[in-house]
C-alpha cells in the first residue's frame, strides 16, 4: 500500500476515469458524470494536501512541496474547466460525456508531469497530457475550425514531442542516467552533447508552454477549440509544462545554469515583446487571450531565468494569480451569448456596460489585473517576478519586461474601451448560468482583495520553492 501512497491522487483519478467511461456507455445522464468528475477532482485535491512528502518508483516520481502546490493549481484549473464545460455544453454543441473523462485523463498526465523526476516519467506524463489535449481541441468535430485546431495542434505537437524525445536521448547518452538527481551529479560545463540535449528539450517544452518562437499553434488552437477547452489550455497545461521545465532545469542542470539561462532569457524576452505587439491587432477575444497567455508565460519564464529560490517562488505566485484571472476571464467569455448563440469578437462587447454594469466592472477588474495595474492581484504577480529578476541582476530583462507590460496594457485597455466608450450593440442574455457564478465572483473577489492580505499565497510560494534549495 505504501508504494501507492505517493501517487494516490493519480490512481484515484485514473480509477474514476475508467469507471466513468464505462458508466457513460450505459447511462445517458451527462450531468451525473460531470458531478462525479468534479467529486473526483475535489477528492484528489484533498489527497494531494494530506499526502506525505516522498518518492515513488525508484525516485522517478517525487512528491515534494513544489509538486504539491503545482498539483493543486492543476486540479483547480481542471475543476474550473469542467464547470465551464457544464455551463455551455448545450449551446456549444459539445454535449458529450467524454469531455469530463478526457479532462480527467489529461489531469493525470499533468500530475505526473508535476512530480516527474525522471526523463521517462517526464515524457510519459507529457504525452498522456498532449494526446488528450489533441482530442479535446477537436472535440466539436462537426465544426471546421475545431477540427482544424485539433489537427494543427496534433501535427505541431507531435513535432515538438519528437524534438523533446531527441533531446532526452542526447541527455541520456551523455550522462548515462535518466534520473534527474543522478544526472545532476554527472553534469559538467562544456559538454557539447549535453547542451544540444538541453536545447532540444527546452525547445520541446517551450512549445508546450507556447513561448515565442514556438507559439505558432496557440492563436489558431485557442480560437478554434470550444471555449471551455480553450480555457483549459490556458490554465492547467501551462502550469504543468512550466513545472516540468522548472524541475528539469533546476534539479538536473543547476550546475550549468549559465548555459540554459540564455535560452530562457531569449524565450522570455521574445514572448513578452512579441505578444504585446501582436495582441494589439486582434479582433477575436479568444485569440487575444492566446497572445495574452504567450505574454504571461514570458513573465513566468523571467522567474525561471533567475534560477534562484526567489525566482521559483515568484513563478508560483505568478502562476496562481494567472490561473485565477483566467478562470474569471474565460467564465466571462462563456457568458457572452445572445439568444443562445455565443459571441467571440471584441466588438460584440461594445457598450456592454449600459446593460450589464456589474459584469462590466468585473471584466474591467480582470483586464486591469492582467495588465498589471495596482492594486489588483496581477500587479503583485509582476512585482514578485521583478523582485526575483533584480535580485539576480537581470536588470535588462526586467526593463524589457516592464516596457512590454506598458505596450501590453494597451490591448487590455482596448477591451475596456469597447465596453465603456463605444456604442451599444448587443444585449447579452448571459450571466445567468448558476455554475458560472461559482467561478466568476470568487475569482473577481480574490483579484480585488488580494492586496489586503497577500501573505498566505506568498507563504505557499516560499514553501513550494523550498523544495529545491
Amino acid at each position: 500500500m505504501n508504494i501507492f501512497l505517493p501517487i494516490l491522487p493519480e490512481i484515484s483519478i485514473f480509477i474514476s476515469a475508467i469507471f466513468l467511461l464505462l458508466l457513460g456507455l450505459f447511462i445517458k445522464n451527462i450531468k451525473l458524470i460531470i458531478n462525479l468528475a468534479v467529486v473526483t477532482l475535489i477528492l484528489a485535491i484533498f489527497f494531494v494536501i494530506y499526502q506525505p512528502i516522498g518518492t515513488a518508483f525508484n525516485n522517478s516520481l517525487v512528491n515534494d512541496e513544489f509538486s504539491k502546490v503545482i498539483k493543486i493549481l492543476i486540479l483547480l484549473g481542471s475543476l474550473a474547466s469542467i464547470i465551464m464545460y457544464h455551463s455551455s455544453r448545450k449551446d456549444l454543441n459539445i454535449d458529450l460525456y467524454e469531455f469530463p473523462i478526457l479532462i480527467l485523463l489529461a489531469t493525470i498526465g499533468m500530475l505526473v508531469m508535476a512530480s516527474a523526476n525522471d526523463l521517462i516519467a517526464i515524457f510519459i506524463g507529457l504525452e498522456l497530457q498532449s494526446l488528450t489535449l489533441y482530442v479535446l481541441a477537436s472535440l466539436n468535430r462537426n465544426h471546421l475550425a475545431s477540427s482544424e485546431a485539433g489537427l494543427k495542434y496534433f501535427l505541431l505537437g507531435a513535432l515538438s514531442s519528437g524534438l523533446l524525445l531527441f533531446g532526452l536521448s542526447y541527455i541520456y547518452g551523455f550522462t548515462g542516467n535518466t534520473n534527474l538527481n543522478l544526472i545532476s551529479t554527472t553534469v559538467a560545463p562544456g559538454n557539447i552533447g549535453l547542451i544540444i540535449g538541453i536545447v532540444f528539450v527546452t525547445s520541446g517544452l517551450a512549445f508546450k508552454v507556447s513561448a515565442v518562437p514556438f507559439h505558432m499553434w496557440t492563436p489558431d488552437v485557442y480560437e478554434g477549440a470550444p471555449t471551455p477547452v480553450t480555457a483549459f489550455f490556458a490554465m492547467a497545461p501551462k502550469v504543468a509544462a512550466i513545472a516540468v521545465a522548472v524541475r528539469f532545469l533546476i534539479v538536473g542542470f543547476s550546475d550549468v545554469a549559465f548555459e540554459w539561462q540564455q535560452i530562457i532569457i531569449f524565450l522570455s524576452i521574445a514572448s513578452m515583446v512579441f505578444a504585446a505587439f501582436a495582441a494589439i491587432a486582434q479582433t477575436n477575444i479568444k485569440r487575444l487571450m492566446a497572445y495574452s497567455s504567450i505574454g504571461h508565460v514570458g513573465y513566468a519564464l523571467i522567474g525561471l531565468a533567475c534560477g534562484t529560490e526567489q525566482g521559483i517562488s515568484s513563478i508560483v505566485i505568478y502562476l496562481s494569480i494567472y490561473l485565477v484571472m483566467n478562470i474569471g476571464v474565460f467564465s466571462f467569455i462563456l457568458s457572452m451569448k445572445y439568444k443562445g448563440e455565443h459571441y467571440e469578437n471584441i466588438s460584440d462587447l461594445s457598450g456592454l456596460y449600459k446593460n450589464h454594469p456589474y459584469y462590466s466592472v468585473i471584466i474591467t477588474v480582470f483586464m486591469f489585473s492582467l495588465a498589471g495595474i495596482p492594486p489588483l492581484a496581477g500587479f503583485f504577480g509582476k512585482f514578485y517576478i521583478f523582485i526575483a529578476a533584480i535580485e539576480s541582476n537581470l536588470m535588462l530583462l526586467a526593463i524589457i519586461g516592464i516596457l512590454a507590460s506598458v505596450v501590453g496594457a494597451f490591448y487590455y485597455l482596448r477591451i475596456i474601451k469597447v465596453i465603456y466608450f463605444d456604442e451599444e450593440k448587443h444585449s447579452f442574455d448571459g450571466f445567468n448560468h448558476k455554475s458560472l457564478h461559482l467561478l466568476i465572483h470568487p475569482s473577481a473577489f480574490l483579484i480585488i482583495l488580494f492586496c489586503l492580505y497577500p501573505l498566505p499565497l506568498i507563504n505557499i510560494a516560499n514553501y513550494a520553492a523550498n523544495a529545491f534549495y
Binding site: 456596460y353 454594469p357 474591467t364 533584480i390 526586467a398 516592464i402 485597455l413 465603456y420 466608450f421
Partner: protein, 505 residues
Amino acid sequence: MSDLPILSIIIFLPLLGVLLLSIINSKSSGGERNLKQTALWVSTLNFVISIVMLINFDQSNVDFQFVENYFWINSGISYHIGIDGISILLIILTTFLMPICILASYESIKHSIKEYLIAFLILETLMIGVFCSLDLVLFYLFFEGGLIPMFLIIGIWGGDRRVYSTFKFFLFTLAGSVFMLLAIIAIYMDTGTTDIVYLLDYDLDHSLQYIFWLAFFASFAVKIPMWPVHTWLPDAHVEAPTAGSVILAGVLLKMAGYGFIRFSLGLFPVASDYFAPLIFTLSIIAIIYASLIALVQKDMKKLIAYSSVAHMGFVTLGIFTFTIQGIEGAMIQMISHGIVSAALFLCVGIVYDRIHTREIDRYGGLVNRMPVYAFVFMIFIMGSIGLPGTSGFIGEFLVLLAVFSVNTYFAVFATTGVVLAATYSLWLYRKVVFGSLVKEDLQDILDLSKREIIILFPLAFLTIFFGFYPQPLIDIIEPATINLISNISNDINLTESITQIESEH
C-alpha cells in the same frame, strides 16, 4: 482621540461611501438625488474629519504624525502611513476639492451618475493614500491605482476625443511610472526595506542614487508634467468632464510635486543636487514655452491646461533650489494652483454647461449678463497671473526669490514667464468677459445659480485670504521644510568634502 486611526479613516471613508452608493437603486424615484446627496455627504464628512486632524496636528513637531504601522507583506514592506507639514496641506486640499467636484457635477453629468460618483470616491481614497504613504510600495499602489478611475472618468464622461485622450493619459503615465517601480524594487533589494522613514535617514550608495533619481524623475516628470512629456495634459484636460479637470489640475499634478519633494530630494539628495541644472533648464523651457503656446489657444480649457504646465514649472524650479523659500514657495504655489486652476476649470465648466462650447471666439461680453460670474472669474484670473494680494503671488514670489539667490539668469527667464502669464490670462478674460454682448446664443445666458455660488465663493475667498495672510500655510510647512533642508545639506556637504579630500590626495 490619539488611539483613533484617523488617517486610515480619512483614506478609507470614501470606500465606505462607495459601498453605500452601490446599494442605492439609481432607477427608483429620487434615486439619483439620493446618490448625489450620499456622495456629497461622505466627501464633506471626510473634509470635516481632515479639518479635525489639522487641528490636532502639532506644527512644531517635525516627525511624522498620526503614524500607523501594520504588518502587510513582510517585515520590509508594511502598511505604514503618517503625515508631516508637507503632506497634510495636500490632504486637506484633496478633501476640500472633492465635495466641490461632486457638487459641480450635479447637473453636467447626464448618464451613469452612480458609476461616476463611485469613480470619484475611489479616486479620493487613492489620492489621499498617495500623500499619507510612508512605504514606497504602498505609495506606488496608490499612485498607479489612481490611473484606473481617472481613465474611466475621462473615457466615459469626456468630450468627443475622449478615447484618444484617455489612452494617451494612461499610457504616458504608466510608461513613466514603471521605471519608478523598478527603482523601488532595486531600493528594496539594496536596503531590505521600502520604509520611507528609514530610507530618509539611510545614505544610499551615491552611484545608485543617480539611476534611482532618473527612474523616479521619469515618473514624476510625466505626472507633473514637465516639458517635453507634457503633451498628454492639454488633451486630457480638454476632454475630461469639468470635475475631472478640477481633480486633475487640483490634486493629481500635485502628487508629482509632492513626490519630488519627498522622494527625489529626501531619498536621493546627492543626485538631486547633481541634476538640479537639468530640472532648472526644463522648468524654464516649460514656463516660457507653455506660456507662449497658451497665447495662441482657441479653447479655454486648453489655455488653462498650458498655464498649468507653466505654473508647475515654478513648482519644480522652487523645489530644486534647495532653499527654504524655494520649497515653501513651491508648496504654496501647489496649494494656490490647486485652488485657482480648479476654480478656473469650474468657471469654464459653468459657461460650457450653458452653451456647450469652450471656444474663446464664441464668447464675449459676458459681464453684461453675468456680473457675479465676471467678478469671481476675475479673482481667479488675477490669482493665476500671480497678482499681489492673491495666493498665486506668494508662491511665485518666494520661488523667484529663491531662484534669484541661486542663479540670476534662471530668475530672469522665470520672471518672463510671469509677464507672459499676465498676457494670456488677461487676453482670455478680455475676450470672454469684456466687450459688448453680440453673440446670438449669449443673449439670454443666466448668471450663477445658488449651487454655483456655493462652489466658487469658498475658492475665491481662499485665493484672496492666502494672498494677504499666508502665515497659516507657512507655519505648517516651515518646520518640515527646515528639517528636510538640513538633512539634504548634510548629505550634500558630506559628499563635497569627500570629493575634496579625494582630489587633494
